[in-house]
Amino acid sequence: MAKFDLNDDSLVVIIGSGAGGGTLANELAQKGIRSVVLEAGKRFKMSDIENDEWKMFGKISWLDKRYVEGPARLARDFPNLPAWIVKGVGGATVHWAGVAMRFQEHEFKMKTTNGTVPGANVLDWPISLQEMEPYYEKAENKMGVCGTKATGMPYHGKSSHYKVVAEGAKRIGAHCEQAHLAINTQPRDGRAACQVTGFCMQGCRFGAKWSTMYTEIPKAEATGNVEVRPESMVLRIEHDTNGKVNGVLYADGNGNQHFQKARIVAVAGNSIESPRMLLNSASNLFPNGLANSSGQVGQNYMTHTTGGVYAEFEKPVHMYKSTVVPGIVTEWQDNDPTRGHLAGYELEILHLGLPFMSAFLNPGKSGWGRELADSLANYDKMAGFWICGEDMPVESNNITLHPTEKDQYGLPVPVVYKTDHINDTRMRNHAYARSKELFESVGAIKVNDLPPYPASHNMGTNRMSEHARDGVVNRWGQTHDIDNLFVSDGSQFTTSGTENPTLTIVALAIRQADYIEDQMKKMNI
């Protein structure tokens, strides 16, 4: 495996090894472009992956100090856990559920579609679905998405959980389909087929689910073009007197600091850490943080409009005997303002285990008592959704740096402010109501609405824009202000779309790698 010198200034330095960073490293490596991947978390082994919700949460989550602010219930229920993400090689792809859907055409142009939305900072993406299609195809093939033309892999079998929801959807005339999952249904690409353990969100012990942890990263390393340094927390990105970035300062597992020189830097630390890094890299030349001439770094934080709905039935469902997301009710994924809200949402059939259900059914201080206990006693008779809808970019939903408090690395603690736009609230209420109708049509005796839990989808804090004044990066994820500084993760999203973000993150990273290769050849960067 490659080992590069700290003074080697011909390298691409990639910060983060998740969906964006891990993919970019492998794509570049296959083209013969050398990179160092700096990853804050540890490198886990397959044998570290257990079918245990709290154990895995404790083992792999990003638990560094963070604050949640705003009037939303999340700030009260989880004051220090705005997001549920991973600190480890593979990033949040270790515990993602594998749902891999393409954006719809209109979702790349929400400003054009709906015009100006009061109180929101809506903008069109500088790219279209048509431009993305070949990259979606490549991403589906790379990740092994079932039910797609790209792979020809069949869908998973229909689980009991799926059947309950599909019947309810049929009865109320809503469209429900099996989920496109980046989970093998046949042995493929050196990985096993899914065994239906039901613990996708704790990491896949069998490697059936795509994760950069055991796909992109080892493939990249095998080329000899990539060195992955786990337990390497990037503290700041530095630049030369011309304003080009020239390396990053990071702390290793023992707290020792190193400076790695770079020709190009790609930031892929997920949507809280990526803007935080840029803000922490403020200098005399860039007093508001790197690439922040627009003032948009850290702004427009999006998480999708979410919530949960769990129905109780008279007879067992055993929802946990299933891939975590066996199917999706797509009926309301379009943009139809006559519903009373703009943009769309998916009802994703999703199970939690009993331990997480007890924590999320009625989170926070008031989560106790007979009603909750009775519902939990019905755990095996439950079926439910996780609502995933497009949320509005709102400038005041943002990541800022705590004025005084520092974390274990001596960096200011991030403060995450997130609250609903009125459209988000209306959409969620619509989703709660339709879900109830659906479940009652198949005999639900009780339907529980769950508030949003810590964000698993994090987007938008270094958004893509046509004009430098509106966002942080251009159509290639290259920062408007600094040619050799890129953003390669979900923070590039201009708007959130309805769909889960990872397929789009991966497609963008594949596309970005082509651009970086081209620009390097032309000696533009």
Binding site: N51, D52, S159, V196, F199, Y320, K321, M357, A373
Partner: protein, 185 residues
């Protein structure tokens, strides 16, 4: 909870299933009701924690635990089992012991103010819940609630009672063990 005898279970001789069988048998009879509380506390009677906190407080804590997450067909021993680590810690952690002692006092004070009697002697669950609600945001209440939640719902020994399967990879998942079985849809 899972006492529907008609539910088809996959055949399996693994230890998990035999434990499930054992629990189903022992938990089948309802052991709720006030009678049980006259002789049991939350901490085992012979534990140092029980002696330190006193019999009355110990019983009060058990009553409270059963009111916070009431599962009438879950025997006291499970609530006690859940709290064993807390009891152990309280023996050597004076601050924790203080939290518990003062907490029980506050609970009783609240109860006396509302119903003129100690928590343990408030007759109905409905009334006791009013008392608990009043102290809900205290560190004492949240500590008990948090430990109970993890202890009950994150306890592999009682998952089977809730019809939750727990770890399945070592059994080959559910691909050949009924992931698609449902007889009422």
């Amino acid at each position: 909870m899972n006492n529907d005898k008609k539910v088809k279970r996959p055949k399996n001789s693994g230890h998990r299933m035999s434990r499930r069988g054992f629990l189903a048998g022992s938990g089948a009879t309802l052991v709720g009701g006030a009678a049980i509380f006259s002789c049991t506390g939350l901490f085992a009677a012979n534990s140092k924690a029980a002696q330190k906190i006193g019999e009355e407080s110990n019983k009060t804590l058990l009553r409270m635990a059963r009111d916070v997450f009431p599962h009438d067909d879950l025997e006291d021993k499970y609530y006690q089992q859940v709290m064993a680590p807390l009891a152990k810690r309280a023996e050597t952690d004076p601050e924790l012991m203080e939290l518990l002692t003062v907490g029980v006092e506050a609970l009783n004070q609240e109860s006396r103010a509302r119903y003129g009697t100690a928590y343990l002697r408030v007759e109905t669950e409905e009334e006791r819940v009013v008392v608990l609600k009043a102290i809900e945001s205290s560190a004492f209440f949240q500590r008990i609630k948090g430990d109970l939640m993890m202890g009950i719902y994150n306890n592999p020994e009682i998952w089977a009672k809730f019809g939750y399967g727990g770890s399945s990879w070592e059994l080959g998942g559910y691909i050949n063990r009924g992931y698609d079985e449902i007889d009422w849809i």
